[in-house]
């Protein structure tokens, strides 16, 4: 058994606990431990990604209780990719956070490690009740992080987030309970097999269970009409946390992809493909609503928060066709959009700190301190996120649009994705021109046109400060340069996802596969 699979869960758990115990130690000590842990997780997930790419699906059985009785972790290509993205992003966010964000309150580093535990666990688990538990770990620590350095607005936005997710958890439990009551198993692979043999009179209840779960996943992924918590929560929290949360909505996307291809896939009898009529329309409506939010926001942070909604809508619209090519294209888009929205959150924070009066609100103010540096970074991020050549947004979008070509909904997807991209460009172009060009001019003494005295205390960023942002931005051209291997990898991921038989075989063995297929043949 490959013990490396559980390491991305154990390490943040242990590190988080150690940091909690030493909470009164110096910040430097906490920072060192947090960064070391994140770096180690990144290296381990890179190895896991390599193993998953070249090898078969691996399973880790906790306590050697063989499935379906024990708890298992499953590493396939999709989950390996997701934990790798998460850990790279977390390392960069943490590098940014140690430049000051973590001084605003205690326990930042411990919460950050627990957050990683929750996210990695949700990606790796092969058991639907453990998925619930890891969701809760992820949420509990995210509450702490959302409120970190709290003000009144941040606290109130956080309260909304807590209440909504509290309801979401109850509903998740209802869905899981319903499915367990009907199927008698919580192991996802075992559920798939049992669902194939479920009696026909339970079909309606099983479908209801599947769709109740979709409601919860839609809340996590921020789909229409359940995304209204997102712009507040992401817009008001501290920048590195918002940047890390760029991957949290992708947890919802991942879970939708996993549950509705594995459990409610082609073999699921009466409940087969239960989500297919719903996902695409809901995702397209989300895309439209997000695009409207993007152009309507008067604050750069909120614009970017709405871009997260747009990216989720785009991803799920493409996945909603449930075609292998389209899923492969979405897999290429996913890392791009995660890293670029994270980069934009950090750039917005750099801009905010140098605009003492206006912050990220889009009104004319004095020019930022380092116009050329921030302007170029903003331009880079905007080009990538808006989907202009030569950066990764363009290639990913082209792949997605060609991927959905054979679907009957292709005209809708084409139109809305392209219009959404145009809206994003308009909003970012407007934001950039207000922040960098429409400035209140300064005279030689540093006073502005209203003869207010010059500001003091505008921070000047050194190399270390902007390094995480530059690395995040550099991922975009990297994704283009590695386009060939990346699209091959994405095709391999999509192939593995659209054949749940491989997953079932890795977890339960050949007999279960025969059982699964016999049900399919009988129909």
């Amino acid at each position: 058994m490959n013990h490396l699979i559980i390491a991305p869960l154990l390490l943040p758990l242990v590190m988080g606990a150690v940091i909690v115990i030493g909470v009164n130690r110096s910040l430097a000590w906490q920072r060192t431990l947090g960064l070391l842990s994140s770096l180690a997780i990144t290296l381990m997930t890179a190895v896991l990604l390599y193993q998953a790419t070249t090898g078969p699906i691996q399973m880790y059985v906790l306590g050697d209780w063989s499935p379906p009785f024990g708890i298992i972790l499953v590493l396939d290509r999709l989950s390996a990719m997701m934990i790798f993205i998460t850990s790279v992003l977390a390392l960069l966010c943490l590098l940014y956070a140690v430049r000051g964000t973590d001084e605003q309150g205690k326990n930042f580093h411990a919460l950050f490690q627990f957050q990683l535990l929750g996210i990695n666990g949700a990606f790796l688990t092969g058991d639907i009740f453990n998925l619930f538990v890891f969701f809760e770990i992820m949420l509990l620590s995210s509450y702490g992080l959302v409120l970190h350095g709290a003000g009144a607005t941040r606290t109130r936005a956080g309260m909304h987030y807590v209440m909504l997710n509290l309801m979401g958890s109850s509903i998740f439990l209802i869905g899981v309970g319903l499915l367990y009551g009907l199927l008698g198993s919580l192991n996802m692979a075992d559920m798939a097999v049992r669902l194939a043999h479920a009696p026909a009179d339970n079909a309606a209840l099983l479908q209801a269970g599947g769709l109740i779960l979709f409601g919860v996943f839609a809340l996590k992924a921020a789909l229409m009409p359940l995304f209204f918590w997102l712009p507040n929560a992401y817009g008001f929290t501290s920048a590195p946390v918002a940047a890390l949360f760029a991957v949290m909505t992708k947890v919802g996307v991942y879970v939708i992809l996993r549950v509705y291809t594995l459990i409610f896939g082609d073999y699921a009898g009466g409940a087969a493909n239960v989500l297919e009529p719903w996902l695409l329309p809901v995702a397209l409506v989300t895309l439209v609503a997000g695009s409207i939010g993007v152009v309507a926001s008067r604050d750069l942070r909120r614009t970017i928060a709405y871009m997260v909604v747009v990216s989720v809508g785009t991803l799920l619209a493409v996945i909603g066709t449930f075609e292998t090519d389209a899923i492969a294209a979405a897999i290429v888009y996913l890392p791009h959009t995660t890293f670029m929205t994270a980069a934009m959150f950090l750039i917005a924070d750099l801009i905010r700190q140098q605009r003492l009066d206006a912050g990220t609100v889009l009104t004319p103010d004095r020019p930022v301190g380092q116009e050329r540096l921030l302007g170029l970074m903003f331009l880079g991020g905007a080009v990538a996120i808006g989907g202009l050549p030569p950066l990764s947004g363009f290639t990913a979008k082209v792949m997605m649009l060609t991927g959905v070509q054979s679907s009957s909904a292709a005209p809708w997807i084409w139109t809305l994705v392209l219009v959404g991209g145009l809206f994003g460009l308009i909003a970012l172009g407007r934001a950039g021109s207000v922040i960098f060009w429409k400035t209140v001019p300064l005279d030689d003494g540093g006073s502005d046109a209203y003869s207010k005295p010059p500001h003091s205390g505008i921070p000047v960023y050194g190399g270390g400060y902007v390094l995480p942002v530059l690395v995040l931005l550099a991922i975009s051209p990297l994704l283009v340069l590695c386009g060939g291997p990346l699209s091959e990898f994405a095709a391999a991921v999509a192939e593995q996802i659209s054949q749940p038989v491989q997953y079932v075989e890795a977890v339960l063995g050949g007999d279960a596969v025969a059982l699964l297929l016999s049900a399919a043949g009988g129909r």
């Binding site: 309260m159 509290l166 209802i174 008698g184 919580l186």
Partner: protein, 105 residues
């Protein structure tokens, strides 16, 4: 069988009483209590699900899930209460009423 129906029905009733309170009462403490009552309703449904086998033996897995759920809801309630206290300390009020004004500045 009738006992489990009683549990499931009672749980459903509790869930909707909680949902009603959550939507109707503006006070944060009441909202937190309401969410807790909703959670208890779900747990009761789970206990009812334990009677799924026909030979009268109770399935232990739903009970294990309820225990986990209780731990989780305890943590949640604690976090929510701390938040409510913090909101009261920062804004002096115990509701969401002033949201619009806060978003405006």
């Amino acid at each position: 069988m009738s006992v489990s129906v009683l549990y499931a029905g009672g749980g459903t009733l509790l869930f909707f009483i909680g949902l009603h309170a959550l939507l109707v009462y503006p006070h944060l403490l009441r909202k937190i209590l309401a969410a807790n009552i909703m959670g208890s309703g779900v747990f009761m449904v789970f206990v009812a699900l334990g009677a799924r086998s026909s030979d009268g033996v109770t399935d232990p897995v739903p009970q294990a899930m309820v225990l986990t759920g209780i731990v989780v809801s305890l943590c949640f309630t604690a976090v929510a209460l701390v938040l409510a206290v913090r909101i009261h300390r920062l804004t002096g009020c115990t509701t969401f009423v002033q949201d619009q004004e806060a978003a405006g500045d």
